[in-house]
């Protein structure tokens, strides 16, 4: 490319030869109408709205598809250009309904806006207008296909960005219909972006449908609490109700996208399951009480534990989506009560490397660079469902031919890029596979691998992946996903991947759910004499304080969690949602605000702190969790709970950490390989996972997400061959458990699961008993 000068509307502008004219005009704020052009999508040039006049061209040219050449003279407002644009507008409007007042897009519709500038107030079209049937394409997107102007943004988005071609344009001429294929639904985890892309009212938000007009809404800047990106978003409210969430563009984090989980979880805020008044459980029945009573009750309960000399048997478990301030005050409260047992890592099971662990789960690579790597290795990660927008960036790098991706995974996940080498092995074998890779890298680079690594290897020939990682050097990235972090030998996987990263020069990323980095930086972690989450659940605590968490659903070892909670003498839960029917363990439920009702800071995987604004007043009598924790501290006569504003808490939390602490680093402070505890099991090996719309109370209470494809339901998935081995078939009901307790689950045939394994989702009451300790048994239910 070379720099040239071109003339637009009589003024000279610098440009790059070969870039499209619309890029130059956009950069210089010269308005050109358009529908099909979008900077994140390929150029289609099909709407013909951006036609402009270029001197010496025989006809008007589309600015989106006309490359810049030196000395080009362009007129965007000449008679030729305007006549061409008006012509296109007339064609677009002849078949488009002219009923903006009843269309949900009205008021934020590019077609409506541009019709004002280029349309006429009457129509010459005397024929019948086209009407197109609208399909039900799922719980998130509402369709009115008569309004479609066939710009194909949604089609290109699916094909290019999301990586699943769910929308297409079958038919030809006037009969072209934008639709899914074979009446399928839209199941992508990033489908909501199609709503933003659609320039008319053809695809609109189903949960938001007819709830408000765009001009009535007030925007509030917020940060998504669900994954480690801290996606920027706008919460849009009307009359103290969250009506919609839309992305706020941030090129370094979420670009102009949002995952559906970030976009639609707001529905939980006004769900009927919201806890609006404090509740206490006495003699097995729940009763609503006022705050004074509830706090007094909670303080008294905790006080009695302390009075029994069991202060160190109080455990604190926080939800990973909590804010930095909430984490800070929470751990402060638990510590002030006299316990060091506090944790937020509810889905982690192996804590042996806590003493040498890096400061917080992080990505050594900035988010914006995820699409620029030459190599990506995923270890135990279904990144598409765990960190959807990071997956889009990796896909972009792969699609543009930059990135080779390889995986070591327990399931053959349906990723949105192709893998160079995909090793799908049962969870127990992931460790030996990773060790084999370390060995191959050792022999390739001439670095001797530690003896215990060599011993672990299963001898698999990993030369190809080793070469990929070594060649990439600092351009390579290794990602430890949810399956690696929840692995019974997670500490070994971390040690191995850290050794591999060091030896190859690759960067490392440990991508934790929610505001995990914030939790660690606020020291919501067990102290020297404290217990981690696993030890708390295993060792019989006298009391639990729960910050936004429901351990029986949030933890993957649900059975152990339920037992631990039920055996505790006193459980205080700060929660936004009413106690559910299965809940026999909480004694006091204190209603907290959701992320929309309170401000709070979130730390993303880069260590970047971002603050969300308050969008609405608290629902019911709920209060921000930080205020409850502070007042609880007062009720218990603890010191250091005199903060007046949220800012006081923020400053206190920040003061406790060094800014150098926030430099992302994923490496353990030393190389240490503990003995593996996982081994190939006789019979069936269980693989547990957290479906993306079951991972925290907010998504579990968001009704549209619960109807989406990524909420699979409490089903046990097995490979077809495994089914044969056990004389089972798709749809059978089975008892899965350890012989003494079991869960009653339906079977689904799933070739992506390795043989001799059973995949069981967490986050469901129905699957709690399936993961009781002991050998897994499966018997067909009568």
């Amino acid at each position: 490319m070379s720099s040239v000068e071109i003339e637009i509307d009589g003024r000279t502008y610098p440009a790059e030869a070969g870039e499209m004219l619309i890029e130059v005009t956009d950069r210089n704020s010269i308005y050109i109408p358009r529908f099909c052009y979008h900077e994140k999508l390929s150029v289609a040039a099909n709407c013909r709205m951006c036609l402009i006049e270029v001197e010496r061209a025989p006809k008007p040219l589309p600015a989106c598809a006309t490359p810049v050449t030196a000395g080009m003279k362009v007129h965007t407002r000449s008679e030729i250009a305007i006549e061409a644009q008006k012509g296109t507008m007339e064609f677009l409007l002849i078949n488009h309904p002219l009923d903006c007042p009843v269309c949900d897009q009205g008021g934020e519709c590019p077609l409506q806006d541009q019709a004002l500038g280029y349309g006429k107030d009457n129509s010459r079209f005397m024929e019948r207008k086209r009407s197109v049937p609208s399909d039900d394409i799922g719980p998130l997107i509402s369709t009115e296909m008569t309004r479609c102007i066939h710009c194909t943004r949604c089609v290109r988005y699916g094909e290019e960005v999301a990586g699943v071609m769910e929308m297409g344009a079958p038919g030809r001429g006037e009969h072209v219909r934008i639709s899914t294929f074979l009446d399928n639904t839209i199941d992508s985890e990033v489908s909501g972006n199609m709503i933003d892309l659609c320039p008319v009212g053809a695809l609109t938000s189903k949960p938001f449908r007819f709830a408000a007009r765009s001009w009535e809404l007030t925007d509030h800047q917020s940060i998504s609490p669900h994954d480690c990106l801290g996606s920027n978003m706008l919460i849009q409210t009307l009359r103290n109700r969250v009506e919609r969430v839309v992305p706020k563009e941030n090129p370094d984090i979420n670009e102009c996208w949002l995952a559906d989980r970030d976009r639609f979880s707001y529905q939980a805020i006004h769900s009927e399951n919201r806890l609006t008044r404090p509740m206490i459980r006495q003699d097995g029945t729940w009763q609503e009480v006022d705050w004074e009573t509830a706090l007094t009750h909670a303080a008294a309960g905790l006080k009695s534990i302390i009075d029994q000399g069991k202060a160190d048997r109080i455990g604190g478990l926080a939800q990973a989506t909590s804010s930095l301030e909430e984490f800070h005050l929470f751990q402060k409260l638990i510590r002030a009560l006299g316990s060091e047992s506090v944790d937020y890592r509810l889905q982690q099971n192996d804590f042996r490397d806590d003493d040498i662990a890096p400061l917080f789960p992080a990505s050594e690579l900035p988010i914006r660079d995820f699409g620029t790597r030459s190599s990506v290795l995923l270890i135990g990660s279904n990144i598409r469902k765990e960190q959807p927008l990071l997956s889009l960036r990796i896909r972009q790098g792969w699609r543009e031919g930059r990135t080779a991706v390889s995986v070591i995974n327990p399931i053959d996940f349906d990723l949105n890029f192709e893998c160079m080498v995909s090793q799908v092995v049962p969870g127990s074998a992931m460790l030996s596979r990773t060790a084999a890779l370390a060995n191959a890298i050792a022999s390739l680079t001439g670095n001797a691998a530690p003896a215990e690594v060599q011993a672990l290897s299963d001898g698999y020939d990993a030369a190809l992946v080793a070469q990929q990682l070594v060649d990439a050097g600092p351009e390579g990235l290794i990602v430890l996903g949810a399956f690696a972090q929840q692995h019974p030998d997670a500490s070994l996987l971390k040690a191995l991947s850290s050794w591999i990263a060091k030896t190859t020069g690759n960067r490392l990323a440990i991508l934790a759910p929610g505001n995990g980095a914030g939790g660690a930086l606020a020291n919501c972690l067990p102290g020297k004499n404290g217990l981690n989450k696993q030890a708390m659940l295993d060792s019989g605590m006298s009391s639990f304080v729960l910050l936004g968490s429901q351990p029986e659903l949030d933890c993957l070892d649900a059975y152990t969690a339920v037992k631990a909670l039920e055996n505790a003498d006193f459980v205080v839960q700060l929660t936004a949602f009413k106690p559910e029917a299965h809940n026999r363990h909480v004694d006091v439920a204190l209603p907290i605000c959701s992320f929309a009702e309170t401000a709070g800071s979130h730390v993303n995987c880069e260590g970047k702190i971002q603050t969300a604004q308050v969008a609405i007043k608290p629902v019911g009598e709920s209060k921000p969790a930080w205020k409850i924790l502070r007042v609880l501290g007062n009720f218990l006569n603890l010191e250091g709970f005199d903060q007046v504003t949220l800012n006081d808490v923020t400053q206190e939390a920040l003061a406790a950490m060094d800014s150098a602490d926030r430099m992302p680093n994923c490496r353990p402070s030393e190389f240490r390989l503990d003995s593996p505890v996982s081994s190939t099991q006789v019979g069936l090996e269980p693989i547990t996972y957290m479906p993306m719309y079951r991972g925290d109370p907010l998504v579990r209470n968001a009704s549209a997400l619960q109807s989406a494809a990524d909420n699979p339901g409490p089903l046990a998935s097995l490979h077809p061959e495994t089914l044969k081995d056990h004389s089972l078939k798709d749809g059978d009901w089975v008892e899965i458990g350890n012989g003494s307790v079991s869960a009653h689950l339906q079977i689904i045939e799933e070739p992506r699961v390795p043989r001799h394994c059973v995949l069981i989702p967490g986050g469901y009451v129905e699957t709690m008993n399936a993961r009781a300790p002991g050998t897994l048994c499966i018997v067909k239910a009568g």
């Binding site: 013909r48 008007p60 012509g87 064609f91 066939h150 001429g173 072209v176």
Partner: protein
């Protein structure tokens, strides 16, 4: 098969060929000109043999084609030699030659006869193209309804391969060329070269916007040259040069200034002897009409569409003073197009004709870009209404305005093809449209 039956079959194959100059089409007196043997007896594959012997530089061949003044026979008339010179010859990248045998333009039936009667000329022409442009693979995209030409082409490719004229290491030269026939699915739009490429790739047949042009980003993103069947099939004869090897002047001299050589004209409509006529460029239309036996039923000529349904219609007086070459037809308000001459006699109802033509473009629009998707249906419906006597006087202005708003605004030329007939019919025969509107108005009065 009985001799009698065989004769009938042969006669049937020849039925639409009325006159041949022996360039793309075989002489009419040949028994079975589509066989390899017959083609060779007429000098076929001599050009390929000479070229592959290595004594001729590919650049020289392009030079001969430029001198011969052959222009693309598919309709746009782009000089073949110039098009071939666009291919990046130095690049080692995979390149393709593609033949456009989609022949969907209403009124055209010449490529069908070339493939049925003289398929080896196309095989040889494409192989030469592959050699000159450094492409090792060629595709012949054949119109979906052309089952018989497809079989003839398959047969020819089989024969050529068996004779070592196709495949790896052709005639021991080290040059290899694979040629594949591909039968389309009957979409007019796939005759547009970039829609054809998409269709070949297995995608929806929608034109791509240009630039990039196929010579840079063609089939599977590789440099590709697309020519019409007749263009490729003319190449061997041009190189043979009527006895004087590599003499572009011979072919050039057959035609007139700016329109070299001979060309196949498909004459259809109200004539006594409809069919294909391979005649010299620049032949007066009167002569062609005479060859075709004149207007049928002793009627007067009313109008002619000289280049396929998409070019402007010409009233009798204009076409009768024209010659069949690019310049003359353009001067008289139309275009040579694909050489598809549609003859209309004095009884022809021009509103009816335009309704039928507009319906075609409405049905065949791919629907990708706005003016064509929305505009072609609008045009058709207005004309249909007028034809039924339900038109209003404003309709004629709207009709013209809509056509003007389609013309030059679309990704491919289908928009122009839909607009030009409307514009030209209204220009020359507006009174017939007005007459269809008036009765309704007088009724109202």
């Amino acid at each position: 098969m009985s001799v009698q039956k065989n004769r009938e079959l042969i006669a049937d194959r020849f039925s639409s060929l009325k006159y041949s100059s022996g360039v793309c089409l075989p002489a009419l007196d040949q028994e079975q000109p589509w066989t390899l043997e017959a083609y060779r007896s007429n000098g076929g594959y001599q050009a390929l043999e000479k070229v592959l012997s290595g004594e001729i530089d590919p650049a020289e061949i392009i030079e001969v084609l430029k001198i011969s003044n052959i222009r693309g026979r598919g309709g746009a008339g782009f000089p073949v030699g110039v098009k071939w010179s666009f291919m990046p010859r130095q690049s080692d990248d995979q390149k393709y030659v593609v033949c456009n045998s989609d022949e969907g333009e209403p009124g055209t039936c010449k490529d069908r006869d070339i493939m049925r009667l003289n398929p080896h000329a196309l095989v040889e022409g494409m192989t030469l193209g592959g050699y000159v442009m450094g492409a090792s693979v060629g595709y012949n995209y054949i119109r979906g309804e052309f089952h018989e030409p497809y079989s003839a082409m398959e047969q020819a490719i089989r024969e050529a391969r068996e004779a070592g004229l196709l495949g790896r290491n052709i005639l021991g030269s080290g040059f290899g060329f694979e040629l594949h026939n591909y039968l389309g699915s009957g979409a007019y739009i796939c005759g547009e070269e970039t829609a054809l490429l998409n269709s070949l790739e297995g995608k929806k047949g929608e034109p791509r916007f240009k630039p990039p042009f196929p010579a840079v980003f063609g089939l599977y993103g590789k440099p590709t040259t697309i020519n019409n069947t007749e263009s490729f099939a003319s190449v061997p004869a041009i190189l043979r040069g009527n006895g004087k090897w590599m003499d572009g002047q011979w072919f050039r001299g057959l035609g007139v200034e700016n329109s070299g050589g001979v060309k196949v004209f498909s004459v259809t409509g109200h004539v006594n002897k409809p069919g294909n006529y391979e005649i010299k460029m620049g032949t007066p239309f009167r002569e062609l009409l005479e060859m075709a036996g004149g207007v049928w039923k002793n009627r007067e000529l009313k109008a002619v569409i000289p280049g396929g349904s998409s070019v402007p219609v010409m009233p009798a007086e204009a076409i009768l003073s024209s010659n069949m070459d690019y310049a003359s037809l353009q001067e008289n308000g139309s275009a040579l197009g694909a050489g598809s001459v549609i003859i209309m006699d004095e009884t022809t109802d021009m509103v009816n004709v335009l309704e039928r033509i507009s319906k075609f473009y409405y049905e065949e629009s791919c629907g990708q870009c706005t003016p064509c998707r929305e505009g072609t249906g609008w045009l058709y419906r207005i004309i249909q209404r007028i034809n039924r006597g339900q038109g209003t006087s404003e309709d004629l202005d709207t009709l013209l305005d809509v056509a003007n708003r389609i013309e030059g605004r679309t990704i491919c030329a289908l928009g122009d093809a839909a607009a030009w007939p409307v514009q030209s019919f209204l220009k020359h025969f507006r009174h017939e449209f007005e007459a269809r509107i008036r009765p309704a108005q007088s009724d109202a009065a």
